[in-house]
Structure formats: C-alpha cells, structure tokens
C-alpha cells in the first residue's frame, strides 16, 4: 500500500510524472543510439568540423579527447555532456524544491507535522523519495541505452553505461539537494527553484569559460560540471575519486536542510 509512509506517499504523488519521464527517457535514449550509424558514416567530416570549433564549445561537449566516431565519444558528445544531465537536473530541482516547500505552500504541512513524527524524519523520507525517483529515471535511461547499443551494434559495456548514467544522476541530484536545502531555509518553492537554476547556469558557465580563460582556471574545481565532465566514466568507468565532490555536496546540503527545517518557523 502506497500510503504506508511519507516516503511511499511522495513517490505515489509523482507516479504519473515518473511514468511519463521514464517513457520519454527510454525513447530518447533509444533514439540517441539509433542515430549513431548515420553519424559514424560521416565521422570524417564531423571530426574536421569539431577541430575547427572554438575550444570552449568543444569543452562544452565533453572535451577534445572524445572521438565522435567511437560509440563512447558519440554518446558523450551527444547525450551525456548536455542533454541527459539537463533533463535529470530539471527533474531533481523540481522534486527538491517542492518536497517541503510544496506542502508548506499548499498548507498541508501543519497537518502532516501534527503526527508524532519528528521533522528530520519527514525530511529524510522525502529525501529518500527523491533518491527513489532519480534511481527509477536512471534505470530507465540505462535500459533505453542498453537496448539501443544492442540494437545498433555499439561496442560499450553495460557497466560503463551504468557508470555514466549514474554519474549524470549524481551531478543532477546534487543540484536537487541544494534546491531542497534552499526550500528548507526559506519555505519558498519558486525562490529555491530560481536560485538553484541560476547556480546550474553559473557553474556551467564557469566550467566552460575556465577552459579558455586562464584566470578562471583555478576556480574551475568549484564547478560540479568540471568534476562531471572530466571523469568520462563511459570510457574509464566510475572511480570513487570522481564522486567525492558530489557525495560531499549532497551530504553538506542535506545537513543544511535538516538543520534549517528543524529550526524554522513554518508558514501557515
């Protein structure tokens, strides 16, 4: 029964959205693979094209070491460098900013917290629901890609695919938890969404510009995108070192969320 606890209730609330997101991601992942044979055929021209691109743009698409004719290079450039994290980030920020502030603005939080459940527990269950939602979307993406690489004969390990998808999810989830923390601090969903989105744009820009502008280079490690783009798990698999930045971010902002929510006066 999906009303047994807050964790399940929150996933249940989003079950329709989860279904359509899953549907879309499976399809999109399949399509990505379906275009690979065409791209591969025109690989020579594309390589030349990429070489003439400004450095910053190449960086934005995952760096110069991606050979777009190879399956890994292709997926990195076309999918993992931009489109997939973007979709994951939208989902994560929506979930994170709404988890607490959504109920607060709808006016249902008073009633929920009149139950004998501590605030931290309510928050943790909602956090876990976010984890659950991201896990389902990641799995669906992986599934779509797995079917795709099989159907279009792309030579990538399923483990590497999983690593790359997971890495994307981890990046996006970090922003989701930042949105959660801001909504716990302010009780305002829209504000949390706005600030986090600005943060995504800002840190992305920082990463891209640091590739070409020397003075910015020493700050690039502040950008989650630097850690995400440089890991290249599709080729190398995912190492713990690549994830520490994200695990740290998630941990810190979860703690901020917990403290803020525990202390704050709730809006009516």
């Amino acid at each position: 029964m999906l009303l047994r606890n807050i964790f399940l209730k929150n996933l249940r609330d989003r079950r329709k959205a989860l279904f359509w997101w899953s549907f879309g991601l499976v399809l999109y992942s399949l399509f990505m693979c379906a275009f690979y044979p065409t791209i591969q055929k025109s690989a020579v021209e594309l390589e030349a094209y990429m070489e003439n691109m400004p450095e910053a743009i190449v960086a934005a698409f995952g760096g110069a070491d991606n050979n777009i004719a190879s399956p890994e290079g292709y997926l990195n450039v076309e999918y993992f460098s931009m489109m997939l994290p973007l979709m994951f980030i939208i989902y994560a920020i929506g979930f994170g900013s709404g988890a607490i502030a959504g109920e607060e603005e709808a006016g249902t939080l008073d009633l929920l917290l009149a139950n004998p459940i501590p605030r931290w527990r309510v928050l943790l269950e909602k956090f876990l629901a976010m984890v659950g939602g991201m896990a389902i979307l990641s799995f669906m993406t992986w599934l779509g890609l797995a079917v795709g690489i099989y159907a279009y004969d792309m030579d990538i390990g399923l483990g590497q695919l999983a690593a790359a998808t997971f890495s994307s999810a981890l990046l996006s989830f970090s922003f989701g938890v930042i949105a959660l923390a801001i909504s716990c601090l302010t009780g305002k969903r829209g504000m949390s969404m706005g600030i986090t989105t600005a943060l995504v744009a800002g840190t992305y820009l920082l990463y891209v510009l640091a590739q070409v502008a020397e003075p910015l280079e020493k700050y690039q490690k502040l950008s989650p995108f630097y850690w995400y783009m440089t890991a290249n798990p599709l080729a190398n698999g995912l190492k713990l070192g690549d994830m520490t930045f994200f695990i740290g971010t998630i941990g810190i902002f979860l703690i901020i969320a917990l403290f803020a929510f525990q202390r704050r006066d709730l809006a009516v």
Partner: protein, 300 residues
C-alpha cells in the same frame, strides 16, 4: 495532577508584529477550555506554538508536563489537532487520506474511523479534490479524533460547518469530554463557547484578558432583547427591573439590554399581549468593552 496545557510567559513576535504576549495559561485535565477572541487576537499563534510549528520568542509551554519543543513527538501521540486553515492532499480520496494518517500514527482502530465517518455523514470514497469545504472539514475532524487522543486542540472547529453539522460537532465534543478527553477549542463565537466549554479565556490583541468559568459568565451575560407587543407599552414598567438597562420604546416595540436571568422580564412582559421576542447575542467587541474595558490599556 498537573495541568494538561501550561504556558509560562509565552510570547511570540513575528518580526515586529505581536502574535501573543506573556501568555500564562493553564488548562486542566478533562475540561473543555474555550479560547475566545476576535480575528487576529493570537489564537492560531498560540495553538501553532503549542504544536511546535513556530517557536516562541520568549517563555515556554508544556503539554502533559512535557516541553512542547523538546518532547513534541511524544506529546503529539496524545494530541488531536484541527488547523484553522485546513488544507488536505487533493490528489487522494478522503478515505485514503485517513488511512495515510492512521499509518503515520502507527495504526488506529479503523472501526472507530468508520463510525465517525458515518456520524458526520462523510463519504470516504470521494476524491478530496471534489469535496466541499464542509466535507473537507469533516475529514479534518475525523483525523483529529481517530486515535482517541487525551487532548484535542481545535482551531475554530465549527467555521464552515452547516448548522446541522455544528450540532453534531457539539455532540462529539461533549462525548469526548465524557470520555475524559481534554479539549482546547478556539473560537470567535461566544454562544458556541458558552454552550460547550467549562472555562473561557478571553484573548485580544495578543493578551489573555481574563479566564472565567462559563457558569459565572452566563450569570452576567448580557443580551439585547426586542419585544414586539400587540399594543403600545410604557417603559416605566420595565425600567424598574434590576436586570434591565437602556430601555427604549418605539410604539409597541420595546428594546433593552439585559444582564442576568430573564425571569422578571418575561413575567412583566406577560401582562401584555406579546407578538414576538427577539434576542441578539452581543458581539465580542461589546463584551470586551463592557466587562473588560478596564484592561483595554494593558491589551494595546
């Protein structure tokens, strides 16, 4: 036996806006306490502090002798709460909402939930989205009552109920009292409080002005009364009655204010042919001004 609710100098400011100030309140076990005050008096502020949704600027509160902030979870096991501005999850059915909350409380007697639903004529199979505000209110009441808590904290519980359901609510409140439950009910309607409460605390502009037994209150309760006679009457006949004030006569209509038992008035009026008697309940402001006008300065 210590008090069920006890506040010590409880004060809440929203920035510079006063919510409540220096509230010293004691609610005894088994009583029905009416918390009476006009809009903006600080009733909701008090209640939300008791439930640890907002934190006091100064002072503290205990429920069952436990600190409302430190032991909030323990307290809430034995508290049923109905918010003043009730909002429910719109994407589920009434019954699902109650089930969800039953789970969150670690299980309740579902037969009792069904019994409550039947009494309040609440249809659990309807989506909450489609419910009228009166029906949502019923769902709110049921969730407050369903675990048979020792203490019920109800913020303006009859607002939005039709008269029939109000009566049903009064019956339910009475039963709760008979079963030994303690009730803390906020309201801005004096007759309602007189009807169901044992004691009343008057709150205005964030200050508790007076706490009084309802029996005492009734003794000096005053009403404006209008008697329509068949023929013109003279006012002297009524002016001599000790309980009567402000007598005015227009032709055959007599208007006056009465404080205390009506007996003498009725017997005097009975000498004439009476067509109609109309009684106006005083509004809260009038009561505050008439009886507690002296505390006015302290309250502002």
């Amino acid at each position: 036996m210590s008090a069920v609710i006890c506040t010590e100098g409880l004060t809440k400011y929203y920035g510079k806006t006063l919510g409540v100030a220096d509230l010293n309140l004691e609610v005894k076990k088994g009583e029905v306490f009416g918390y009476l005050g006009p809009n903006g008096a600080g009733k909701t502020t008090t209640i939300r502090t008791l439930l640890d949704f907002i934190h006091p600027t100064r002072g503290r509160a205990t429920i069952f002798g436990l600190d409302t902030h430190r032991d909030g979870v323990k307290i809430k096991k034995q508290v049923g709460y109905l918010p003043g501005e009730l909002e429910l999850y719109k994407n589920i059915k009434g019954g699902e909402f109650l089930r969800h909350f039953a789970y969150l409380r670690g299980g309740v007697d579902w037969k009792y939930v069904q019994e409550l639903a039947e009494r309040l004529d609440f249809d659990m199979s309807k989506p909450i989205r489609s419910l009228s505000s009166g029906n949502k209110h019923k769902a709110g009441l049921i969730q407050a009552l369903m675990h048979k808590p020792e203490l019920l904290i109800l913020d303006e519980p009859t607002v939005g109920l039709d008269p029939l359901m109000q009566q049903e609510f009064y019956r339910i409140a009475n039963e709760a009292k008979k079963q030994g439950q303690t009730l803390f009910i906020s309201s801005h309607i004096l007759p309602e409080v007189e009807r169901i409460c044992d004691r009343v605390g008057f709150i205005r502009r964030g200050k508790l002005i007076k706490v009084e037994e309802v029996l005492d209150l009734k003794e000096h309760a005053f009403r404006q009364i209008e008697i329509h006679f068949a023929n013109p009457v003279s006012k002297e006949e009524f002016e001599n009655l000790s309980v009567v004030k402000d007598v005015r006569v227009e032709d055959s209509v007599l208007r006056f204010t009465v404080a205390g038992p009506l007996d003498a008035v009725v017997k005097t009026a009975a000498k004439f042919e009476v067509i109609n008697i109309i009684s106006h309940e005083p509004n809260l402001e009038d009561i505050f001004l008439t009886y507690y006008g002296g505390d006015e300065n302290a309250a502002s």
